[in-house]
């Protein structure tokens, strides 16, 4: 509401900038409250909503209020200043309706998932929320499990993927899973096996487009030089990484290297004309489509790497 803002009569309930907290309606005073007062009022209102439980979550446990005011803001400096994420082809993501975002996975810790979420939330014209499909392990871990649900993720299973897609949500999946995120540095930007093609059959059944996404830069944030297999088995984790800084520097090793990122959203691969559920029952079609998506991401990765001048700039 730019014209309202210029007159100074009406202050929008929620500011356009997602970084801001909600600002209050006009008080019955001559002088409108200053910016910091509005921010303070918004912050206090948020605290009140949390204390009284006065907020809404969806069936999957997605807590929009918490995500936008608490979980996303601390990621923004990382996105803008540390990784200087550059997005390409955001217009390939539809403004409305379901679509399946398929991306390469890397970086030891799923920072690439967070950055892709932020790219779509802050920089897509329709401010889309990405609903990620996460591994089983995520929902077993205390603290991690509820935060994952509240930020809009759900378990990577066909039932959930199809339910989200058919309710016109934007669903994100990293089909490489732990094989991709935990691979050694020497194999960087080489796509691993793409699961069993479950994501393709979900897209086929719902007739939603698949958007291949290539992420460059995440491989270099925590280069995995070795993997402590014994410790991983002991802790029940898929891997325990040894990076140049971890565990050598202890907690300081958790600081990611400031690589320069590019996230490219590729052209959508339409699935609506392929025949719905019948097509999903055709394993050859599913395999071919999986391969097509994988090849697209792989070749885009190579193109982006050729264009990149340096890892850090």
């Amino acid at each position: 509401m730019p014209e309202a803002r210029s007159t100074g009569n009406v202050i929008p309930l929620r500011s356009e900038e997602p970084t801001d907290r909600p600002v209050p309606p006009p008080a019955a005073v001559a002088a409108p409250p200053s910016a910091w007062e509005q921010k303070l009022a918004g912050g206090l209102a948020f605290v009140r909503r949390r204390i009284t439980g006065d907020y809404e979550i969806d069936d999957f446990g997605y807590d929009k209020d918490l995500t936008e005011h608490v979980l996303l803001p601390p990621l923004r400096p990382l996105y803008d200043k540390w990784f200087r994420v550059e997005t390409r082809g955001l217009d390939n993501v539809p403004d409305a309706g379901g679509a399946l975002i398929v991306a390469n996975h890397s970086g030891t810790v799923p920072v690439d998932a967070l950055m892709t979420t932020l790219a779509l939330h802050d920089h897509h014209p329709a401010k889309r929320n990405l609903r990620l499909l996460a591994a089983d392990l995520v929902f077993q871990l205390p603290v991690v499990a509820p935060v994952a649900r509240k930020s809009g993720n759900t378990l990577a299973c066909n039932a959930d993927a199809e339910r989200l897609l058919s309710t016109d949500e934007l669903v994100g999946v990293f089909p490489e899973g732990f094989k991709g995120i935990g691979k050694p540095f020497s194999e960087r930007y080489k796509l691993q096996r793409f699961g069993r093609g479950g994501f393709v059959s979900a897209a086929l059944r719902t007739g939603k487009p698949i958007i291949p996404v290539s992420i460059v830069g995440a491989e270099e944030i925590y280069p995995i030089l070795g993997n402590s297999k014994t410790l991983a088995r002991l802790l029940g984790l898929p891997y325990v990484p040894i990076t140049p800084l971890f565990p050598l520097l202890g907690p300081l090793g958790a600081i990611p290297l400031p690589s320069k990122w590019i996230i490219e959203f590729g052209e959508p691969i339409e699935t609506a004309h392929l025949g719905g559920s019948a097509a999903a029952e055709d394993p050859m079609l599913v395999f071919n489509l999986t391969d097509q998506v994988r090849e697209t991401i792989q070749s885009t990765l190579y193109t982006l790497l050729m264009q990149r001048r340096s890892v850090f700039f």
């Binding site: 439980g53 069936d59 446990g61 807590d63 205390p142 509820p146 039932a159």
Partner: protein, 347 residues
């Protein structure tokens, strides 16, 4: 097809009494017969109206005589008990639930007058685990079958009910899987849990919960007893609440207990007689459980009110320790103190 003679098992417990009273108020039904091991509470008697009460144990073959003599055509089985304390121990509870159902079904199978069977089951049959889909549909395979308690009984009861359905295909069979009940009156382990002055939770977990308002639950049972709605249906409100959110709405502080300590704390609560939480309910406190209720809504063209609204009726019943008004007033005062304005600046 409208029923002529309806038999309701578990009539002396809250929901059984409510349903029998509702059916008795319907003049199109000739007779309503209630069965239970204990007589209904005295204060429930006027409400029950013309309901005939038979003091019988459904574990006893006597039940077959009742069904045959009265020519019962509709049976509403509500006698699967959730809490061992109410039944007099876990062994007795299991016997009432499983053996009782077997006896009842055996009697129903023999009765030529039988036309309809409505069974009150629970969504607990889906179990509760980290690998669950976000919403269970009626044909979802549970990831981890319940190993103990009420949920295991319910799984076994459902097995016998399905067997009955195969042997008597002429009987309309409605299997209703209810989510947790809540409302202004009903007493369940969940309502007792949410009424604790400080509510213990599992540290690092915040399950999604789904609730069914007691009135809506009765309405679903009534519609299934009167009409023909064959099949398995999840029954509950749409939408979910997080457990933390539910606790905040009832205005109570929560107390997170580390997972290894949970069974210890639960044991202490059980011995103190505060809340009777079984192991599978402890898992529910970690992972929660939500069912897809769209099939019932399609079948009936109506569905129970949303979870948040059902919760609200419970919130209004319990005196809140922390009122939203108090919080809002504190917010206003704090804001006025900080901004030094006389006028309220409210978001």
């Amino acid at each position: 097809m409208k029923p002529r003679v309806v038999l309701v098992t578990g009539v002396s417990r809250y929901l059984g009494t409510r349903l029998a009273a509702t059916l008795a108020a319907d003049p199109s039904i000739e007779r309503v017969i209630g069965v239970d091991t204990v007589p209904p509470r005295a204060e429930a008697l006027p409400q029950l109206g013309r309901t005939e009460f038979v003091r019988a144990d459904i574990r006893n073959p006597l039940i077959a005589k009742v069904i045959a003599q009265a020519e019962v055509d509709t049976v509403v089985h509500m006698n699967v008990i959730a809490t061992p304390l109410g039944a007099g121990g876990r062994t007795a509870m299991k016997e009432i639930n499983v053996i009782g159902t077997m006896q009842l079904l055996a009697a129903c199978q023999k009765a030529p007058s039988m036309r309809k069977l409505v069974v009150k089951s629970t969504t607990a049959v889906y179990g509760s685990s980290s690998r669950d889909p976000a919403l269970f549909t009626e044909d979802a395979e549970p990831k981890a079958l319940p190993k103990s308690g009420y949920a295991k009984d319910a799984v076994e009861v459902e097995g016998y009910v399905r067997g009955f359905g195969r042997r008597r295909p002429d009987v309309t069979l409605s299997l209703l899987r209810f989510t947790n009940f809540i409302g202004p009156v009903i007493e369940t382990p969940l309502t007792r849990y949410l009424s604790l002055p400080v509510v213990p939770t599992v540290l690092g977990f915040d399950p999604r919960i789904q609730l069914c308002h007691e009135d809506d639950g009765i309405e679903v049972l009534r519609r299934c007893a009167l009409g023909d709605h064959p099949g398995i249906f999840n029954v509950g409100g749409t939408g979910v609440l997080l457990l933390s959110q539910a606790i905040r709405r009832v205005g109570r502080p929560s107390f997170p207990v580390p997972a290894p300590m949970v069974s210890l704390v639960a044991g202490a609560f059980r011995r103190a007689g505060l809340v009777d939480f079984s192991p599978e309910q402890m898992r529910y406190l970690e992972h929660g459980r939500v069912a897809d209720v769209s099939r019932l809504q399609r079948e009936l063209g109506w569905g129970p009110r949303p979870t948040a609204q059902a919760m609200q009726t419970f919130v209004e019943r319990a005196p809140r320790i922390l009122n939203p008004e108090t919080v809002a007033a504190a917010e206003t005062r704090l804001l006025q103190a900080l901004t030094r304005t006389k006028e309220p600046v409210r978001a």
